[in-house]
Amino acid sequence: MSDSNIKIVEAPEGLSGEGFFATKLNDVVGLARANSMWPLPFATSCCGIEFMATMASHYDLARFGSERVSFSPRQADMLMVMGTISKKMAPILRQVYEQMAEPRWVIAVGACASSGGIFDTYSVLQGIDKVIPVDVYVPGCPPRPEQIVDGVMRLQELVKSESVRRRSSPEYQELLASYNIK
């Protein structure tokens, strides 16, 4: 249909000619990964309600390739941690992260997940980066759905530019080792 306003992602830089298009493998893989991020919503509290709003019709996260909310860690690419993680919860979060297959990304949505937020208490983990590595932090208490969408788009940028070899690089292994994740 000519009046359709569906946008298709732009092709990466490359050489094109009649019947062929040549580009870097990195770019193609990044493009594919970035536009089909399956989120695993790890919603514990208030931010989870804003995530519900993000998924619902008004903000519609599906526009960014995240239509399928994967509740199984095995099939998810992006772990979205929304809400306070208490010390009782931390081992479970870690287990969920360990169950995810590479490549995996983590967004810490909201102040609590990023830093413990206003809950500077004996029972609350002061930021999930104490137990798992985090790629994008979304501030706010709770962040507005626009901010969550922005966080996802920032992550897409990261994913697009990530080298296909990053996950086997010594730096990455070192990062995981620093969290004691095998």
Binding site: T44, A53, A56, G83, I92, I118, S123
Partner: protein, 412 residues
Amino acid sequence: MSELLLPPEHRYAKIIKEKLNEDGSELSILNLGPTHPATHGIFQNILLMDGERILDAEPTIGYIHRAFEKIAENRPFYQITPLTDRMNYCSSPINNMAWWMTLEKLLNIEVPKRAQYLRVIVMELARITDHIICNSILGVDTGAYTGFLYVFQFREKIYEIYEEICGARLTTNMGRLGGFERDWSAEAFRKLDVFLEEFPPAWKEFENLFERNRIFIDRTVNVGAISAESAMAYGFTGPNLRAAGVDYDVRVAEPYSSYEDFEFIIPVGKSGDTYDRFCVRNAEVWESLSIIRQALAKMPEGNDYHAEVPDYYLPPKEDVYNNMEALIYHFKIVMGEVPVPVAEIYHAVEGGNGELGFYLITDGSRTPYRLHFRRPCFIYYQAYPEMIKGALLSDAIVILSSLNVIAGELDA
């Protein structure tokens, strides 16, 4: 499998070892939660199952225990409102207003009628958001995603009204001691009018989609029924109790914020099952809408939006910059150095899920000596294992969402 999940000394492990069904099949254990997708929050239940049927359940809570009561003992009175927001985050304004009303009771402050009516409006809007979430999610759990997508649009509209009033959407931190921080703008009233016009037909449609829906009825009628006696023994309040047929409502029993000025009925159910809980919440939304209309119609003239209590109410910002007295008041209030009597106060309101009570003990210092929250979710969730005994696994999910257990309120 069960050895992996449970230590051998666990009582379920023993039961499994001892009991073998006649046909040779054995009981099994299912660990539902804490991050199960169908539980909408962090609840863990270890279920002892015979096939699809639940024989026994053992709940574990506390996965988002945030120590509200400990924080409250270390914060001046003003800084406790944000905590109440995060307790039942589906209906934050009710919690905020309940906290301010507790303090007003402590300090004997009379709030102007108009501010009380504005509070009623915002509390009823909060009740509507709460019930929208609960009922539409119940729809999702029974397989009807449409209703959720449809009515969530209107929850956004309510959030826009909140934004006009206080600037925030979900965790509103709304109001001040003695009223509101500012008068409601004309835009807020306009948005409210639009909402009152557009929402009822949509809600009617939502109701029609479910109330006579064969699948929905099959999934909910006689599922998770609880009798009035045992509901009361378990400390049920709010819609869940009313679904069992007891017409206890704090708004009527102990009217606060001028609820005695409005006419409304308390919808009650009969059997206390999931379907009744759904219908009671639906009916409450209609009552809330009617209360909002009455409050708008009866709204007193003028523009009072707070009580004249300079010791406790923050002065306008321009006065703070230009007026010595206002600056002193501002400083004292912000630093929490306000005179507070020594007293013990219990104040209860009808929250989204039942009687939300604040038990406040002051010793005259800038922070509460002890603040205990009576959280309805925490109290009635303990009946959950009893309610799902003998039910199917899929029913357990439906019962959980019909109880509307909010993790933040459950674990405090």
